[in-house]
Chain length 300, copies 2
């Protein structure tokens, strides 16, 4: 079996131009774990914003590393603004969410004067790798877009496609997930998929198919039994859910029961915004950081 995607990822990172991450209210356990590991591995520099005492307590001797600088700003909103400014002015390369609310950091990213929005939409990408399948897959959106309409869903897909192509140099297969393959007025997610399909019918840079159930997108055996005739035959790369509830349930199922290797980020700004949560495993926290670094290195 070939080496896992996330293990390969760490090796591919170019250590000559270390990526610098900027973190508002960096005294967050998940950040501390991932950042300390990244600095010890020689792939990362960090600008830690927040209360220096708290940060030193949490990051230990790493706080004194020449690759770490600490900025004393203790207010959540100001810390987010500073972290974004660091990226905007080229002193940092990526963002990571510290002990701040997602809405506060988003407001700083999206600010029309001082922010760093790039794409029409910011959306969440969950990268995952299955035990029995090669390659990385993307689930969107499990954390940010709540009830997207067709236009928003298409923007989610654009973000996912762009990010996928940073890792795999080919057109992705995009599956629009639903409970059913038949388009039915009774099932809104099938109508949503139909609307998206009509908008991408001439696209050459990806295969978009749906509505389809999770198993057809992922499982060749199920494709064979159901005699599914589409282009996607259990080999989807990007899994698009119609609503955040579905994305969240799939994410949690992948996390706790499939034990998939995972990582996540917000995508659509000038740089990746790395998000980790306390309930993520240590590997997931570190994988998320690796993804952020890789996307930056690939797209700069």
């Amino acid at each position: 079996m070939s080496e896992s995607f996330f293990a390969q990822l760490e090796k591919k990172i170019d250590t000559k131009t270390k990526c610098r991450v900027s973190i508002p209210l960096a005294n967050d356990e998940a950040c501390a774990y991932a950042v300390c590991r990244g600095i010890n591995s020689g792939i990362l520099k960090a600008t830690l914003i927040g209360n220096p005492e708290k940060i030193r307590l949490m990051y230990g001797e790493i706080s004194d590393s020449p690759d770490v600088s600490i900025i004393d700003i203790r207010d959540e909103q100001s810390a987010c603004a500073k972290a974004v400014e660091e990226v905007k002015e080229g002193r940092s390369n990526i963002l990571m969410k510290g002990l701040v609310s997602t809405s506060t950091i988003l407001k700083a990213v999206l600010n029309s004067q001082t922010g760093i929005k790039k794409n029409p939409l910011l959306s969440h990408l969950c990268f995952f790798e299955l035990p029995d399948k090669p390659g990385v897959k993307i689930l969107t959106d499990a954390a940010m877009c709540i009830s997207p309409d067709a236009e928003t869903l298409l923007m989610e897909i654009e973000n996912a496609r762009e990010a996928f192509c940073a890792f795999e140099k080919r057109s992705p297969n995009v599956a629009l997930l639903s409970a059913n393959e038949k388009i039915s007025d009774k099932i809104p997610s099938t109508k949503l998929a139909e609307a998206v399909l009509s908008m991408v019918s001439t696209r050459k840079d990806m295969v978009v198919e749906g509505p389809m159930s999770f198993d057809l997108a992922l499982n060749e055996e199920s494709v064979r039994i159901k005699k599914y005739k589409g282009k996607i035959q259990g080999n989807a790369d990007i899994f698009v859910v119609p609503r955040i509830d579905t994305g969240n349930a799939l994410y949690k199922s992948l996390q706790y029961y499939v034990k998939a290797s995972m990582g996540g980020m917000l995508y659509g700004a000038r740089c990746p915004v790395v998000l980790t949560s306390r309930a993520d495993s240590n590997d997931t926290k570190y994988n998320s950081l690796l993804l952020g670094i890789s996307v930056w290195q690939d797209t700069r």
Copy 2:
């Protein structure tokens, strides 16, 4: 580790009063597998409706068993009506869906003159058992109720509670799944959960809690890390999804990646309606039949 729920289930079935299943257009591979296994195990009789030649071809020597009768009706609608009549007039005890569409068998079940509706709603129950957790759990609704309002969701919960209590002699913990624990106008599933909660606040026969994410409903570790203070601490028995898309994705994830032991049925008629699909594993097909037999034996 204690024996699995589904293995116990087969042993508990009372073979003195064999259950008789009635199947419209019984020449279905999933039905044939499950029924032949049930008859060989001595726990089942069957009334197979459809084209006798096709049935004999598929069921082999089991077609000649004294526990099997074959009724020659080849039209889908008439076969469904006959299967329901067999139950209504007491000659069969449960229904199993053969090579007919779900909507045709449902129409026969729900017919106000000739049907066998009992509860206000017919809903789908997916019974599952996790590798690392004792006891059976129910996911509802992964196959039938599309976008339930609060009243419908409450009826789904009633069906699930009633079925759960056929197996476990205690009040279930019911988790209303969503992407978030906070009630927010922006996330409809959280408002739906809020509405359901207001309708069950005085109930003593179950604990209903939500909105909550899948991991809090299922995983003690996540409860600990997130410091969740609810009554449900990773020990939900019934998992209620806000929409069929979410239910379907979770079902497929449990089926293909968690490799959970599973079985399913429609619930709310005078008898269970056993549903299997070709893409189900053989064990799932048989488990579904076992569930149907058990529920009948427990509730008759």
